[in-house]
């Protein structure tokens, strides 16, 4: 094991936790949108996010991650979802692991044990970003209004994830199922994205899911 300081960063004492969209009070908006809304937004909050960096060409690194996470190391622009866990390619030497909230400490320990003395870095970034899940028949229309990237299924199949410009900022778009897309957003931009999504999906109808 390395001398990296690994510790439980999530309070286990039942301390109050707020997502970066807490102020928008999404819970109070559930069921208030139009019937048959074209876009449904769901906040996937307070999950465990870990960025993993290492040499993707090193078979020992790939095998170690596979062993610890149970998911093969994804190649360029890929996201692999397995149950509540997902592993995503962010760059040639950088991946993002998302686990259910509270499991990130154990996941980090598993990874460090499996990767041993390899030249790696694992950082818990759970507090810095979160996911907004968009689903419904009109999500692609909203994405087309927001980004210059081609989101047609021919170019953007399920299982692909790209970092790109979106509205006036940037984020990562993940295509997780036929009509389901996830936006990986920075916490300081949460309010902007929420306002943007309300505006961009108004014409199709927006509903909020808990």
């Amino acid at each position: 094991m390395t001398a990296a300081n690994v510790y439980q960063q999530r309070p286990t004492t039942g301390a109050k936790a707020e997502s970066s969209l807490h102020h928008a009070d999404l819970a109070s908006l559930v069921g208030k949108g139009r019937n048959n809304a074209g876009v449904t937004v769901r906040e996937k909050k307070l999950l465990g996010h870990l960025t993993i960096r290492g040499d993707g060409h090193d078979a020992a690194f790939a095998a170690g991650v596979h062993k610890a996470v149970g998911i093969e190391l994804p190649g360029a622009l890929q996201v692999i979802v397995k149950g509540e866990t997902s592993l995503q390619w962010l760059g040639p030497d950088e991946w993002l692991l998302i686990v259910p909230g509270g499991e990130e400490f154990a996941a980090e320990q598993n990874l460090r044990a499996a990767l041993g003395e390899l030249h790696i870095q694992i950082v818990n970034v759970s507090g810095g970003q979160q996911i907004l899940e968009l689903s419904g028949p009109n999500v692609r229309d909203v994405l087309m209004k927001s980004t210059s990237y081609d989101v047609h299924p021919n170019n953007f199949p399920v299982g692909k994830a790209v970092g790109t410009v979106f509205a006036k900022s940037q984020l990562v778009i993940r295509h997780t199922a036929e009509d389901t897309w996830e936006l990986l957003i920075r916490r300081s931009f949460s309010d902007y994205w929420w306002l943007w999504l309300q505006d961009a999906s108004a014409e199709f109808g927006l509903s909020v899911q808990a």
Binding site: A76, L77, G91, P92, S148, Y149, V162, G163
Partner: protein, 100 residues
């Protein structure tokens, strides 16, 4: 809007995802203390400003956040190739008969 091929993402992306970071292939002197002021100043501040082919450093800021090199024609803005750091360009001013 240009489309630029990111050698890491392996596909063409919109220009707005990228930033240019100046001239490429500028090695840092191995022993800065042994440099004269002129050499160090040259390394720090002086850049080529060619008319024609230019090798440039770009970063895919909104995507994979990696640097890579591009060979660009400063007259037509045509990007002839992009390649990873550490690789050598296929297109050079010499090969195409222009003065560097």
């Amino acid at each position: 809007m240009l489309h630029i091929f990111c050698p890491h993402c392996g596909e063409l992306r919109s220009e707005e995802e990228f930033h240019a970071s100046g001239q490429a292939h500028i090695p840092r002197p191995l022993d800065p203390n042994a440099c004269t002021d002129a050499e160090w100043g040259d390394y720090m501040f002086f850049r080529d400003n060619p008319r024609g082919l230019h090798h440039e450093l770009w970063i895919h800021a909104a995507g994979c956040r990696q640097y890579f090199n591009a060979t660009r024609d400063t007259v037509t803005y045509e990007i002839l190739e992009t390649y990873k750091i550490g690789e050598q360009p296929q297109f050079t001013a010499k090969a195409s008969g222009e003065k560097v």
